[in-house]
Amino acid sequence: MADIKLPAGKVEELKEVCKKLGNEGGELINALHAAQELFGYLPAEVQELVANEMNVSVAHVYGVVTFYSFFSMIPKGEHPISICMGTACYVRGAEKVLDEFKRHLDVKVGETTPDGKFSISCLRCVGACGLAPVVTVGDKVYGRVAAEDVKGILEEYK
């Protein structure tokens, strides 16, 4: 595990959040949510920090992080791409769109490109089924995406 230094400001902020949660193991998931929001992902060092602050073992924290797909130990890209795999999007060809993103970026779901620009994740329904299949890049939502559109979407961020 590569040792990384955590920025002091964010560490203090996280400690503050943990304190508000009562430094108590029962609030672990909330603490992890806050940590991921702050750091973008949950590297080992952040998990150790959370374990310390919430008075639970690091192994337990890691167990929770690896159990829930929402938590990620890989930093998200500068432009996180999410492809909706909900029923409506799926039946309208989301998988083909996903495959196209994977092919263009040469990374798998849950991974980030080596230059740190893009990461791919899947999600279940953004509540815009009328626009299926839906893709989000950062906060921007793309509707009725076809495999042929993928190249163009990526171009916007290069």
Binding site: M1, D3, I4, K5, L6, P7, A8, V11, A44, E45, Q47, E48, L49, N52, V56, S57, V58, A59, H60, V61, Y62, G63, T66, F67, S69
Partner: protein, 588 residues
């Protein structure tokens, strides 16, 4: 007390509300098979994730089968524990478990003592009808414990031992679904975690997923090397349990047969760690009196209570979890390491041999001893004071390898000079023993009077935390005892909070002390086995002519010829150590 009445296998039973079907059945002599379930009665700890489903029973009127370990009895229940439906379900469950388990029984370290194997046998599984993917994991490279997680059945007993009994918190279930596995954080090897190597996870594992790192082949290599003089030392708890490996009743003392077996295996000198235990008492007792004297003289800087330091699992625990308190434990090395230090100086000199040509092997009830002897501070120019440490189980395996008929072996005596010991040393093997031994010597050294009685019943027993005040001829000495690291944690937290009234505390990592060590014959959760071993230890003490460490003539000789005085310059160099802050730091 609310009671419920029910019927199990057509037999009426009355139990307290809240009792599980498993317990109710046990009350009337009905044995329901279990695999993941584990109940450590004296510790009030029960592992019942209800995960394996081997204990399912049929409850009249209930659609599905009920896991007996988790289902509470209710009024009027009508239970069948071995109906055709139940037995078929158990067989199916077993086949499903085996469908993701390697078929390596013939070469598995646990074969013959494996609960999974026994269960498969009892259920008469002759084929596994379910074929599919099998999990594979990288093996753990730690110096003491081998993790082969393909063999894990997710019973979670090791997690209970690690988190609840020991409060070490190194193991957790990680990942999800088919990928889930019990592992340390970030799926690193155990020696990159805060693992103490106490081996309690190994002691409770029902399969071969967790075993000790086997060093017996290396021991045999040393024995057959003509250039090496191979010395063996045996810990006190080994003699009270080794017989179990050969079908003898728990609590049978096999000291003489063990010595005989070691000689037949080819060790050049068969010595006793007990000798070094007496030496430990000389050093630790002197240190206790030294600190106490300073404290009574009004020295505010002196640290009390003094904590024993013979248990390497415990040393690892406080180095990782209480690094702010590393100046409180005694600096005395453990008996294993004291023995090594003396064997490779004093005794090697007597043999006129270089230390590199002397190989010291220890037989220990412990897996943490494997880690301890590999610690850098216990090496001189890279040569360890103790070269190899094997467990009671590994010694038993070596005896079987040599095809010795253990029960028929004659009784032999240890060699001298490092084989002589007193009753005080023997009781190191049980919780409360080290501090009782220390009291026997410290009392006489302090008061300069002979002890009125040698058996300190107030220090004995099985309670997780015990305390007693011993009258040192007008000076009351408060003594604390904890066994199991969870109990140790409670005493340490009191010290940290400034609430502790103790002058001295004995701590053993394993429940029961060394008799319940991670390297002992598997007791499969039966605490009665530990009590019998404890009884055997006290019996051996009673039978000894000398029962106080300072009366050991060879220890006296060692001081007069070689060491000088306890806690003197040479003792400090050879018999004392220091501790490290091992808590992981987060870089900011």
């Amino acid at each position: 007390m609310e009671i419920v009445q029910l019927s199990i296998d057509n037999k009426k039973v009355v139990v307290e509300k809240g009792t599980t079907i498993l317990e109710a059945a046990k009350n009337i002599g009905v044995d329901i098979p279990t695999l993941c379930h584990m109940k450590l009665h004296d510790m009030n700890i029960e592992n019942k994730p209800g995960g394996c489903r081997v204990c399912v029973v049929e409850v009249e009127g209930r659609r599905n089968l009920a896991p007996a370990c988790k289902t509470e009895c209710t009024e009027g229940m009508d239970i069948q524990t071995h109906s055709v439906r139940v037995v078929n379900a158990r067989r199916t469950v077993m086949e499903l478990i085996l469908s993701d388990h390697p078929f390596e029984c013939l070469v598995c370290a646990k074969s013959g003592d494996c609960e999974l194997q026994t269960m498969a046998q009892n259920l008469g599984i002759r084929e596994v009808r379910y074929q599919g993917e099998k999990n594979s994991y990288k093996s753990d490279e730690s110096p003491a414990i081998v993790r082969e997680m393909e063999k894990c059945i997710m019973c979670r007993r090791c997690e209970t031992a690690c988190n609840e009994v020991q409060t070490v918190g190194v193991l957790s279930a990680v990942n999800r679904g088919f990928e889930s596995v019990v592992a340390p954080a970030f799926e690193m090897d155990l020696d990159h975690s805060a693992c103490t190597f106490c081996g309690q996870c190994v002691a409770v594992c029902p399969t071969g997923a967790l075993t000790e790192r086997d060093s017996s082949a290396k021991v045999m290599d040393a024995i057959v090397d003509p250039k090496k003089t191979v010395i063996v030392q045996t810990a006190p708890a080994v003699r009270a349990a080794l017989g179990e490996e050969f079908g003898m009743e728990a609590g049978t003392l096999v000291t003489g047969k063990m010595v005989s077996a070691l000689r037949k295996l080819g060790f050049d000198h068969v010595f006793d760690t007990d000798f070094a235990a007496d030496l430990t008492i000389m050093e630790e007792g002197t240190e206790l009196l030294g600190r106490l004297g300073k404290h009574l003289a009004g020295d505010k800087d002196v640290k009390l209570p003094i904590l024993t330091s013979c248990c390497p699992g415990w040393v690892n625990f406080f180095e990782h979890q209480f690094p702010d308190m590393i100046d409180i434990p005694s600096t005395a090395k453990s008996p294993q390491q004291m023995f090594g230090a003396i064997a490779k100086t004093y005794f090697a000199d007597q043999l006129k041999q270089k230390r590199e040509d002397v190989v010291v092997v220890s037989v220990m009830p412990c897996l943490a001893k494997k880690y301890e002897c590999a610690r850098d501070e216990f090496k001189v120019d890279g040569d360890p004071d103790v070269n190899l440490s094997i467990s009671t189980r590994e010694l038993a395996q070596m005896i079987r390898n040599a095809n010795l008929n253990f029960e028929a072996l004659e009784e032999d005596d240890f060699d001298q000079p490092l084989g002589e010991s007193t009753g005080a040393a023997v009781i190191f093997g049980t919780t409360g023993g080290v501090i009782e031994a220390a009291v026997r010597t410290a009392y006489e050294v302090h008061t300069k009077k002979p002890l009125p009685k040698l058996d300190f019943e107030e220090l004995r027993g099985f309670e997780g935390i015990r305390s007693a005040t011993i009258d040192f001829d007008g000076l009351p000495i408060n003594i604390g005892i904890a066994h199991g690291l969870g109990n140790a944690r409670k005493l340490l937290e009191d010290i940290r909070a400034g609430k502790s009234q103790f002058h001295a505390i004995e701590i053993m990592a394993c429940p029961g002390g060394c008799i319940g060590g991670g390297g002992q014959p598997y007791h499969h959760g039966d605490v009665e086995v530990l009590k019998k071993r404890q009884h055997a230890i006290y019996e051996e003490d009673k039978g000894k002519v000398l029962r106080k460490s300072h009366e050991n003539p060879f220890v006296q000789k060692l001081y007069s010829e070689f060491l000088g005085e306890p806690c003197g310059h040479k003792s400090h160099e050879l018999l004392h150590t220091h501790y490290y802050d091992k808590k992981k730091k987060i870089e900011i």
